[in-house]
Symmetry: C2
Subunit: 429 residues, 2 copies
């Protein structure tokens, strides 16, 4: 149970350090003390989520994430809700595509309570049938909410268009049908198979020392739990659909919502800094090319930006915009023109230099909060990557070269290879 | 130009301090150094916004806020957009009901650039007619976006129902008609009357020293600009409408969205800590009574929470929920029952104690980021309040007594005095 300091940020007066311990039961524990912080961000990531679901069980990861809050061995739903909130802290959970996470933010003296309640949620949920009947209704309302929010549902539509029946195309919430048919045995089977130390990563950042974190986890029973089933969750290789267009007719809304995009870059891809540079310069803020062209010069949209998510095996990315139905085609054509220029010509040297400076600044600013440091710590374990200090990341940004940018631009940003989805009164082409 | 240290937080190893300078030209400058921070949050608040608009000019404050980004004396729209983004920082602006603010977050070495660009936005915008033609279209798209988002537009509907034709009931974006008719002279008149040092408060927090902030503002020309027109913006006294119900029919959405609420507490009201306590315990998180009753016990909603805004002269607050049309009435009845119990009985001692602990913890956690400290600093000047350290605020929380809670509960949380608005396929009563 050696504690190894595996990296440090050199900038600023005080250099934080990442510590990692790999325990005999398979649990990975990471921590980074952040000088000046009064709080701690504490999170646990389960390496199981939507990607590992069978079609008829779509949404089971998300349903389990809801159900654990309905009661555990020693706590009622209300006691779980009160546990950290009554201390002024917060407790949240997220089902993402590859991982399900349970996260807390508390004052440092309440770290023990955070580890205790999250430990119970993960290892000792009751999963009672009468609770399921209620929670199903809540999730059906959540599905309705997403459906009623055009700039939310459009991304589900796009994922389905890009990945088809592969789990990358699933709705994380499931469908109304799967949510209605999922039952306690499905939920319990997932909890037993996935919610054990061998599939868990714990990370904490803020006013926390690594030894103290290990002690707190020990007292909350994390270190003595047995590693469970380690059979890998099978995941078929995935390939994005070919370029095509899909439209969802909604007569009653004032705007046409558009996503144009496709397969993005995977987490471990060495070209991802180049990808991030292009993505940012195209649609990452109000100085970006798409914002300048579509909003500032043409006045055709209030909201236009790029988005991207990276996973272990692939990624997804694109451009989102919302615009009046009568100008939607013009706006989309302008987006394509901006993308096409970058895909065919790459980036001029001046943009490369300015973009690198922008990325470097963002890196430093993004690492100021305790939660973002917790994420960075967890990510090193979840994707098996080396820990990179901000200085090391900045060096990687500086090393982005023109050829890689040209390759990435051609491979990922050519609109003729993209999938188009629209939602609104009128289709676009 | 004396620099006065007017308060300090005693907790934590290092105690930050608020500094304030009132300059001869009317500008108020506040700062708080936050140990350990690498960045600075810098903001300027203009004491003019929606509340000071005439009906035919509704939306002019927001339109001006957009227009200043289209070009200033030395910077084009693109140069403004690039100014801080290219350094990795961010530049944003917000039109709220009482104030319009311009905010930046940058690395400490870029504070001068932030002060320079925000100074130009405020004091030297070009406000050209050809830019207005484009920006009008962008704002019309922004209005469409709000209209298409049920859990956004419902709050505009509620404000109008509570405040009628008073500016508290205006849409901050204006209406399609006012946005189309507003012209450069209206925009310029507002900029000239309101955007000068006498109506401005500047606040900065993070890695910043007060003397350095004053130097930076001086170099960017803030200190030598003349105070302008100080005629107060007239604001009629406001009274909330009597209890009634309004429904906006939308056949095409899956949920009914409901807001039940009314006049809230004003910023300077000494009972506002009691108000915050009740508001939090009723609908502030998953341990709150409304969440527990409507979501956990009844399974009728995914989203149910309270909301509140305080202004100098009044406030607005209420409960928001979204639920299936067929169970909307049942959910609303449950909300009313929870409110009625608190309005008639106040809070039991155990809830008071737990609630106070929760509020104290939230106070400490909320003060960790540089932006929240900048807000707290600005607020002291905008509402003429004494600076209160976290310790002093905690003492005020501890001092909340049962009688005040009972009065506030009766005065503000009785559902029979509330205004009900709903949006969806079916009306509720």
């Amino acid at each position: 149970m050696a504690v190894v300091a595996i990296g440090a940020d050199k900038q600023g007066a005080e250099a934080p350090q990442l510590h990692r311990t790999d325990l005999p039961n398979g649990l990975t524990v990471l921590s980074e003390a952040v000088p000046g912080a009064r709080s701690v961000a504490f999170g646990a990531w389960v390496r199981a989520a939507t990607l590992h679901e069978r079609p008829e069980e779509m949404g089971v990861s998300h349903l389990l994430e809801h159900m654990v809050f309905k009661g555990t061995r020693t706590r009622s739903a209300q006691e779980i809700a009160l546990s950290l909130e009554t201390l002024g802290g917060s407790l949240d959970a997220y089902t993402e595509r590859e991982h399900t996470s349970y996260q807390a933010r508390v004052l440092d003296e309440h770290l023990g309570e955070a580890a205790s309640v999250i430990g119970e949620l993960i290892f000792e949920p009751l999963l009672k049938p009468e609770d399921l009947a209620l929670e199903r209704k809540v999730i059906l309302e959540e599905i309705s909410m997403v459906e009623d929010t055009p700039d939310d549902i459009i991304f589900d539509v796009h994922n389905r268009a890009v990945w088809g029946d592969h789990p990358h195309g699933y709705a994380i919430l499931g469908t109304r049908d799967t949510v209605k048919s999922l039952d306690i045995p499905h939920i319990r089977a997932l909890q037993e198979r996935a919610y054990h130390p061998g599939r868990l990563v714990v990370a904490a950042s803020g006013r926390v020392e690594h030894d103290q974190l290990l002690e707190v986890l020990d007292r909350a029973g994390w270190l003595t739990r047995a590693r469970g089933d380690m059979t890998p969750f099978a995941l078929d290789p995935v390939e994005a659909a070919g370029p095509h267009a899909e439209h969802v007719k909604r007569k009653d809304i004032a705007q046409t919502h558009i996503v144009l995009g496709g397969q993005g870059i995977a987490h471990g891809d060495s070209r991802r800094y180049a990808f991030a540079l292009i993505d940012m310069l195209l649609g990452g803020g109000m100085s970006s090319r798409l914002f300048q062209r579509v909003r500032e010069e043409l006045g055709l949209a209030y909201s236009v930006h790029t988005f991207s998510s990276a996973f272990a095996d692939t990624g997804v990315h694109g451009v989102y915009l919302a615009t009046a139905p009568e100008s939607a085609q013009e706006a989309l054509d302008a987006v394509r023109e901006v993308l096409r220029e970058v895909a065919s010509e790459g980036l001029p040297e001046a943009d490369m230099l300015a973009g690198k400076r922008q990325l470097r600044g963002q890196l430093v600013l993004s690492m100021e909060g305790v939660s973002s440091r917790m994420y960075r710590a967890a990510t090193t374990a979840l994707y098996g990557e080396p820990f990179r200090s901000v200085d090391e990341q900045m060096a990687l940004v500086d090393a982005i070269d023109e050829d890689t940018v040209r390759d990435v631009a051609r491979d990922f940003f050519d609109p003729d290879r993209h999938i188009l989805v629209s939602l609104g009164p009128k289709a676009v082409r």
